[in-house]
Symmetry: none
Subunit: 252 residues, 2 copies
DNA sequence: CTTGACATGTTGTCATGACAATACGACCGA
DNA sequence: TCGGTCGTATTGTCATGACAACATGTCAAG
């Protein structure tokens, strides 16, 4: 019984299961890849080998292999063969990095100054992110520096009974680090909307630029690992000191 | 000559161009979609109709249609047909797309007006992209519209002996599509730097906004499938009409 | 030793054909 | 009117076959 199961998982596809053969094949191959049966960059089974092992046509094989290649598990090279992908990073990691990350990599220190912490009812877009249950949010205003120069103004909104961070807790530390340590909440995904504005008088004074100077404005809606909405933020960067870098690839 | 060109763009695929038929077909169908020839949710051409029109096998047709479905342009339903996608949730900034594709995903009709084409030595950042071999570039200025409203100003720079596109060739058509058809060059990756500026007098007049209004400024450096630098562009969007959307996921 | 021709193995492209699964309207009988 | 049957149109699945494009090693000629 168990020997049959083992054999089935290795080279038998069920033609009467109702599940398409190319799906069964794709799953079987994907399992072998994610199991670690192959080292990254190693040559994978050729179409001919798969045909011999699973007794399916090349049509079916190619359907499975192309799907896995599109999913970033395999890399196919005409004339050479099929190889297990070295990294799948390009498929789930962000391809957008900020100037501050660049600065951090180059060893430039970033710091921030807490401006004020206030509680109040959420504005419209903030309320839309947290849902109607949240009737009170804590707004945290910070001025952020790269080196000695002010770079950005950040307004963060947190849902209130849930994530009541205090000004003392926060200090000049990272908000996300505090959320992890204090509440066990990890921000894993975020949706960002990037826009442009001109500096108001108060923004200009804080950032040390002229009124009417261009600002890069980011609205961020952050979620935890469980999908819970965590933070709604509005960050205004000095456009002369901060730029976004995006790596684009062609999907279809 | 022109009648041939028109016919070619509609129902003729070039079997001797070296470009696979399913790629040509996919591009042709995608153009029809992003041009706005079909309303969202409307029934698209059936496989049979495509076969009759383009004289290719179902294998080729399915390859193109499945690609477009995976790309979020079409929805296929067994037994019913193929439909133009109704939801355009996939307009992520990390996806390389043409202006018309981008506008279509935002639910807008796109058009553009050619302003001028001039040749000259490259500016510093443009030269850095193309390398020191390129001593002359062609600059193409275009005004882009979303619906009836001007939305962006685009300056494209192309390396000159290599990619000499003419104003007549270009017309109001897609630059990338022209590069594919005319030179066999496919833009597959790009690096973008997103910044903010304020509108100059001339920009403001063209875009129909006030001088000093905020602009979202994008510098794009585009590469072909072989890694060859293809285009260096500067695009300035009206910040009140255009924003970037980014889905961030955290590594670790 | 170098170079080119050739064989071999790989993935890519395309056509043809058959049948299955699904959706839906037309028709017919109760 | 209701409900079931049937035909038709659609996309989904799978097989087979042929050739093209590309990579690589072998081997003989120079």
């Amino acid at each position: 019984m168990s020997s049959y199961a083992i054999e089935a998982s290795w080279d038998r596809l069920d033609r009467n299961s109702g599940v398409p053969l190319h799906v069964q094949l794709r799953n079987a191959l994907q399992q072998q890849i994610t199991e670690g049966s192959y080292r990254p960059g190693e040559a994978f089974l050729t179409e001919r080998e798969i045909a011999a092992r699973y007794h399916v046509s090349r049509t079916t094989i190619r359907e499975a292999l192309v799907d896995l290649a599109n999913g970033g598990y395999l890399v196919r090279q005409q004339g050479k063969g099929t190889f297990v992908a070295r990294t799948r990073d390009a498929f789930d990691a962000t391809r957008l990095s900020s100037f501050s990350e660049d600065m951090w990599r180059r060893g430039l220190r970033s710091s921030s100054r807490l401006l004020q912490v206030t509680d109040g009812p959420p504005a419209e877009d903030v309320a839309a992110h947290f849902g109607s249950d949240v009737r009170l949010v804590r707004r945290i205003d910070r001025l952020r520096f790269a080196g000695d120069e002010p770079i950005s103004l950040q307004q963060s909104h947190l849902p209130l009974p849930r994530l009541a961070v205090s000004a003392e807790d926060l200090g000049d530390d990272s908000l996300y680090r505090l959320l992890e340590a204090r509440f066990g909440v990890f921000v894993t995904t975020a949706e960002e909307v990037i826009s442009a504005e001109v500096a108001s008088t108060v923004d200009a004074n804080l950032l040390g630029i002229a009124e009417g100077a261009p600002l890069l404005c980011v609205r961020r809606f952050a979620f935890s690992q469980t999908g819970e909405p965590i933070e709604s933020a509005c960050i205004r960067y000095r456009a002369d000191k901060y730029k976004f870098y995006v790596q684009q690839t062609r999907g279809v």
